[in-house]
């Protein structure tokens, strides 16, 4: 808590009425480092993608993905510091090399600057939260699955007996997911579920499908690798299912949990969870939810 101590000292010496108004983004990050439960590693994708550590924070918004919509949502709630699990600039490492002259990059960058905003990418360390991956924890809470978790593998759950269809419907309802997609026999009995929220690559996805789990639930995968493997498993006679929730819907409750976690040690400013919209619609549910005002 050195940073927080320093912040408090700064408040005292400048005789401000309260510590709100002097908390910086850098201090919020320093406190997170103290609470993450493990080493803070350099070299991953986490870090400041917009704004600077010395920006004074009016409020902290956690969100699944710093879409333009999410930034507007954060501002509307008085938050100029956004902590996002997914990129701000459309690639995992927020690579800017090819988009320096991109018109949308310029508008988004200017918007963040104009509103004195910070966008901090919290991906790797949120998955590294101890004792349980922050995304896994938030999703478990949303689904009400804490009691079903295997003690030897926090990504496996033994659920009350149901079918693949009823499990898919449960996700559809609890995650407000119009466009989830399922591989496998809808009538297949399901007890054990393996989760890999977010993107799931061919490897280790194929290994997850070959555990004792009946169903693998993920966010996103490629049709020509893991999805093809899943359908081939079914075709070979195995009783298996694969559910694709969509990337952001599968992980976003983990960022709700992040807001709850932050409230434990950032008390000077409001902490808000900014829920993002489902990116897609389908023919059954043609809707338009993006805020187009800027």
């Amino acid at each position: 808590m050195l940073a927080a101590g320093a912040a408090a000292a700064a408040v005292a010496t400048t005789a401000r009425p309260s510590s709100a108004g002097s908390l910086t983004a850098g201090e919020v990050i320093e406190r997170m480092k103290q609470h993450i439960g493990g080493p803070w590693r350099e070299g991953g994708v986490d870090g400041f993608k917009a704004g600077t550590p010395d920006t004074v924070v009016t409020g902290v918004a956690t969100t699944m993905m710093a879409t333009f919509d999410a930034l507007k949502g954060a501002l509307a709630q008085g938050c100029n510091m956004v902590i996002t699990h997914e990129p701000t600039y459309w690639s995992h490492p927020d690579t800017l090399t090819y988009i320096q002259d991109d018109p949308l990059y310029r508008v988004k960058h200017a918007f963040l600057e104009k509103h004195n905003m910070v966008s901090y990418h919290l991906h790797d360390h949120w998955h590294a939260l101890k004792p349980v991956d922050g995304i896994d924890m938030g999703t478990m809470q949303r689904m009400g699955w804490m009691r079903y978790m295997h003690t030897d593998n926090p990504r496996m759950f033994t659920l009350p007996p149901q079918t693949l269809l009823s499990l898919a419907r449960d996700f559809q309802k609890k995650m407000n997911d119009r466009t989830l997609r399922v591989v496998g026999d809808p009538a297949m009995p399901v007890r054990i579920v393996y989760e890999s929220w977010g993107n799931c690559s061919q490897f280790p996805g194929t290994q997850f499908m070959n555990t004792e789990a009946d169903v693998l639930v993920i966010g996103e995968a490629q049709d020509w690798d893991l999805v093809e493997y899943a359908r081939d498993l079914v075709s070979s006679g195995k009783k298996k299912g694969l559910i694709l929730l969509g990337h952001v819907l599968s992980e976003q409750w983990g960022m709700k949990y992040c807001a709850d976690w932050l409230k434990g040690f950032v008390t000077e400013v409001p902490i808000k969870f900014v829920r993002i919209i489902e990116p897609f619609w389908n023919l059954r549910h043609p809707v338009f939810e993006i805020n187009t005002r800027i």
Binding site: L104, A168, P186, N210, V248
Partner: protein, 288 residues
């Protein structure tokens, strides 16, 4: 092989020539397919025989968008033992087997291929690099959009009769039989110009397409945390854009149906069959 379709006995004086005189082998046919494609070839390509014995005699050719286990079964049932596929048989772009040791499904699929004396040929890069792109030509045919090509040099950009994003989606759904396609943007968006990027589309390609003078971009798949976010953000600053994700197979299958028709002109003495691939997914809302 100057004339690989000839199966007559070699003349007596050609004793020292290496001439195959039996039925056509898989390798003879795949060599001919690649040569006849007219594509320049890439330094590194995924196109090759990825399963089976290249010297196997070919009874029939099955063409499919994806050599799933189901496609292999359908090919075998149609007495086709050479499977020409756009997508990999071994669940990886380059059909890498590095992690397949001990994998039961790999063993089962491999054994099925061996038992049925099948050969799988990955035909992806050459078909795309052909002029014009074979997938684009076939998809335009599948949609009946050949007459809407906006620019002769671009086989996947169309100027449609006035419609909406919902209207385009509905048409794609009907013509391609796509149940689980997903859209980004206002369903009521007015649409005239559409650019397609059939199959997988990387981030930069998609960003460039979205910034062209087009209303809608159609693709098979693009990463949700990259170009899908970009499309949402464009719309969030007021740009009038739409994005359609068909799913990979539905976005290329018309191109492989066209490939089957083309192959019939390249290999004339062996039956060629198109094997459709079922959509991999369902959505609970569609099950009543």
């Amino acid at each position: 092989m100057a004339n690989p379709t000839v199966a007559a006995p070699a003349p007596a004086n050609s004793f020292f020539r290496v001439q195959h005189t039996g039925p056509l082998t898989a390798l003879q046919i795949t060599d001919k397919i690649m040569a006849q494609s007219g594509a320049p070839g890439r330094a590194k390509t995924v196109d090759r025989i990825t399963a089976g014995d290249p010297t196997a005699a070919v009874a029939g050719i099955a063409v499919t968008a994806m050599a799933t286990f189901d496609s292999l079964k359908a090919a075998a049932a149609a007495n086709c033992n050479l499977v020409v596929t756009y997508e990999p048989v071994w669940w990886m772009d380059d059909d890498s087997l590095d992690r397949m040791e001990g994998d039961e499904l790999f063993a089962a699929k491999r054994d099925f291929i061996q038992t049925h004396e099948m050969v799988v040929f990955n035909f992806h890069d050459h078909w795309r690099d052909r002029t014009p792109d074979g997938i684009a030509v076939g998809m335009a045919k599948a949609l009946g959009w050949e007459g809407y090509l906006a620019d002769a040099s671009r086989p996947a950009t169309f100027r449609l009769p006035s419609t909406t994003l919902f209207g385009v989606a509905k048409e794609l759904h009907t013509k391609l039989g796509d149940r689980t396609m997903r859209m980004v943007g206002d369903p009521r968006l007015k649409v005239r110009t559409v650019a397609a990027s059939w199959g997988n589309t990387d981030q930069i390609t998609m960003i460039h397409l979205l910034n062209e003078a087009v209303d809608v971009v159609i693709c098979g798949y693009t990463h949700e945390w990259e170009a899908v976010e970009y499309a949402q953000d464009m719309i969030a600053i007021g740009d009038k854009k739409g994005l359609v994700l068909l799913g990979d197979v539905k976005s290329v299958e018309g191109g492989m149906k066209y490939c089957a028709d083309w192959l019939k002109t390249v290999v004339t003495d062996i039956p060629v069959t198109f094997v459709p691939v079922a959509e991999p997914y369902w959505n609970p809302a569609d099950l009543g």
